[in-house]
Symmetry: C2
Subunit: 478 residues, 2 copies
């Protein structure tokens, strides 16, 4: 038991130091390691397996909706990046520049892609000629670079893995539908697969993507009350098409600029999972993305028949879930802590006494609840328990978010809540950027998203008292 | 039929201009497009789907053998790249350098990874402490950059997609076994999945990887008689470990340097498929990697019941293969040519007369052989025909390679063959680099690989007449 204790004690309690708790988990659960380039991380096998599961679910969904994967170059010539004014202004301060190839100075600097709108546009200008060529529904899984000053594993890194969808359409309506459809795909992925309640909404002008006509976002509330922008979907209108001379013959045989979207999500989602579901024992992984869903831990492994029974169980379970048996020479207690820290959803304990009774003990990671399961029923019981865990962690996260969501009707209320209670504040907003600045400067709360579908809570702006236009969610953000 | 002809005529005949034939295929089958950065290509959906199929087969095999995927940074600090002398000498002339992040000059230049040995070594030095930590069997799928002067789509590009496996072991023997095991994985992938006969062997000193103790390769013969180095597997011994201070406590509790391997294959394999199986109608894709294995083409589509029957067939076939129905408004003849050009292994023609007879016509892409298949037997017939096609294209490639493999016993013979007959030359070699230089300078043939398992054909070196050490395959190479 001393070993067990020691390992658990190694994780800083989240109440003591949330940032340190987070770092402890990413390092001790072996999700990532730092590299010698600031802000560039090594994603270790366990972390990468989580990412692979995320990719696999999303990629399947994208393809079902008709999207096709492509691979664009990682370099963008400076002149190409500059073609869309807002876009270059937004990204220029944070790109990495390649100036030399081998021993020769390049004639034109190349930036390492921070995002690939310009590359897709250049390609679309070449291949889109007629309305028959539309839509193009392209996506790519790749790495991008944004030269960040302050970095944190998964949440903000100079290089990160992501997917970027780029689509091009005949009509504005079709492009707008695509934008909203992909926002829904992300929202559904968060709710159903990551078991994270997420709020959908529109970004304000000051928070939207550089070059977009409108940006939509899903925002999730972390355990410490900060919001995490978790995926975004952008509608571009046709001004990228104009800047890049993308033109097609429409159904009336007239030249026309098409309409575009882009949408993306990143390894940041791993950070969201940690900060929504994790606890002081470590990670808690939603079953859909857990590299190992069930860990079998044989008790009194040296006794006759135990290992055989454990392996037999593993063989049966392999058909319905991702399962492993821990046959290392560590003590069972040590193994319990280790796999709890790594967030394995269920563990099965099986020893000589269990085998006598033809049963095993299944322990849920989220609430440590024990269930005795008849070995004959294991194929039914395990999927049920995984589903219960998923619902359980979703409910817990939703309740916490509801408890941490407040309403403010004027700036005094807003300031008081912002000072004392981490979480979301719902407050009406007039639409003026100055009110956003006021909030940011005084409370460090920024507008997370406009929620026009939700019932308005007041008629006046909480910041200036003028007529309110939108209900907005505000929070401190990662 | 005029349309059909036109489309086929668009591809240059390989006998007229092999390089142009190749370029025609990659462009017209929509595998790739050029970007505005020299040597960096856009892999279009059809090309990328081929790559995804390759990745999926190999990734599964790697994992079955215990390998785990990770993600390393794309940047390597100059000082890190310099740690292993041979390695930096080999790669420095062809790396891209990042010198600025945003508006600031970096304190140290970063190279965009040309390969990641140095990054893996730095990580291993941190995480490998005891023999219990070994082996580490890591792999990553990523993009790398090598600043090439002359580039060709898929075959040699400044940026390319690949996988790089990096493993670290307790003993030299274990590492050597891993090196050979992974060479076999590649060889098997080429023979069974790509239907490409490939020759396994060891590289000579002058052709081996920068920093490796020994390099193994698989070499395939293209349609034009040139060889393509198609995948490599390297044994590093422990000198990378020494250069990077990787040390572990061995089973006798003594500090020891571990042994390493690396192995990789790239999007170049798409080039191999084109140049081994392609013909003057376009691509011929092996079924295992074909994005669409069966294309159904309804004949007299407007007639009652035809489209329904085609769709019904598609529904049944979807359970056993990757199938699509072409319902575009092009003529059947046009569709035949188009899908032939894109290398779809089988096409099914189904029209009113076929439906009357409860049959369809299946046409093989490789030899255009027609088979009438009873609709009741379709689930049996299609997999059989796909397998026949795979065997057929393998056999054709093998026969061609055998016909194009010659023996030379002295330099006169060697020169005569090299001048007049493209292909492999088998010739004995003394082991002296000067004989390789002689061959390269006079005939442009380079040593492709040492074949010590094959029967020696002479006792003397074909170049200098001294005592021969090895049987070597020689060829002009891509």
């Amino acid at each position: 038991m001393s070993k067990t204790k020691k390992q658990v004690e190694e994780i800083t309690a989240m109440e003591d130091d949330f940032a340190k708790w987070y770092t402890d988990i990413v390092r001790k659960a072996q999700l990532m390691d730092y590299s010698s380039v600031k802000g560039c991380m090594i994603i270790e096998p366990y972390g990468y397996a989580i990412w692979e599961n995320m990719v696999s679910i999303l990629d399947k969904k994208f393809k079902e909706l008709g999207h096709e994967n492509v691979s664009m170059p990682m370099f963008i010539p400076e002149s190409l990046l500059q073609k869309e004014k807002d876009h270059i202004e937004g990204f220029a301060p944070e790109v990495a520049w390649v100036t030399h190839g081998g021993n020769e100075k390049l004639q034109e600097r190349l930036c390492v892609r921070p995002t690939s709108e310009t590359l897709f546009c250049e390609h679309y200008a070449k291949v889109v000629h007629s309305w028959r060529d539309l839509p193009k529904l392209y996506n790519q899984w790749c790495n991008v670079v944004r030269w960040e000053k302050t970095t944190r594993p998964f949440l903000r890194s100079s290089e990160f893995q992501w997917q970027e969808g780029h689509t091009i359409h005949e009509t504005a309506e079709e492009a707008k539908n695509e934008t909203m459809q992909m926002l829904d795909v992300y929202h559904n992925f968060f709710e159903k697969y990551l078991a994270i309640p997420a709020i959908k909404g529109q970004k304000t002008e000051s928070e939207k993507f550089a070059g977009a006509e409108s940006t939509y976002t899903i925002e999730a509330l972390m355990h410490d009350g900060k919001a995490l922008q978790s995926a975004t979907s952008h509608y571009f209108g046709n001004h990228f098409a104009k800047a890049f001379n993308i033109e097609f013959q429409n159904r009336d045989n007239k030249p026309q600029n098409p309409y575009q979207t882009s949408w993306g999500c990143t390894t940041r989602m791993i950070g969201a999972v940690i900060m929504v579901h994790g606890d002081n024992r470590g990670l808690v992984l939603p079953p859909a993305i857990a590299p190992v869903q069930v860990m079998i831990i044989p008790i009194a492994m040296q006794k006759e028949g135990v290992l055989e029974k454990a392996k037999e169980l593993e063989g049966r379970l392999r058909k319905i879930c991702r399962v492993k048996t821990d046959i290392s020479d560590k003590s069972p207690g040590w193994k319990f802590s280790e796999h709890e820290m790594r967030g394995v959803p269920l563990r099965i304990e099986i020893g000589p006494k269990d085998i006598e009774k033809n049963q095993c003990v299944v322990v849920r990671r989220d609430n440590l609840e024990k269930t005795f399961v008849d070995l004959n029923d294991i194929e039914v019981a395990i999927p049920e328990l995984l589903e219960k865990l998923r619902k359980g962690i979703y409910k817990k996260a939703l309740e916490r978010r509801n408890q941490m969501t407040y309403e403010a009707h004027n700036f005094e209320e807003f300031e008081n809540i912002a000072k004392s209670k981490p979480g979301f504040i719902k407050a009406m907003w007039c639409g003026d950027e100055n009110c956003e600045k006021k909030s940011k400067e005084i409370t460090a709360f920024t507008s997370r998203c406009i929620r026009d579908n939700e019932e308005k809570i007041d008629t006046k702006c909480a910041f200036c008292g003028k007529e309110a236009k939108h209900l907005v969610y505000w929070a401190k953000a990662y």
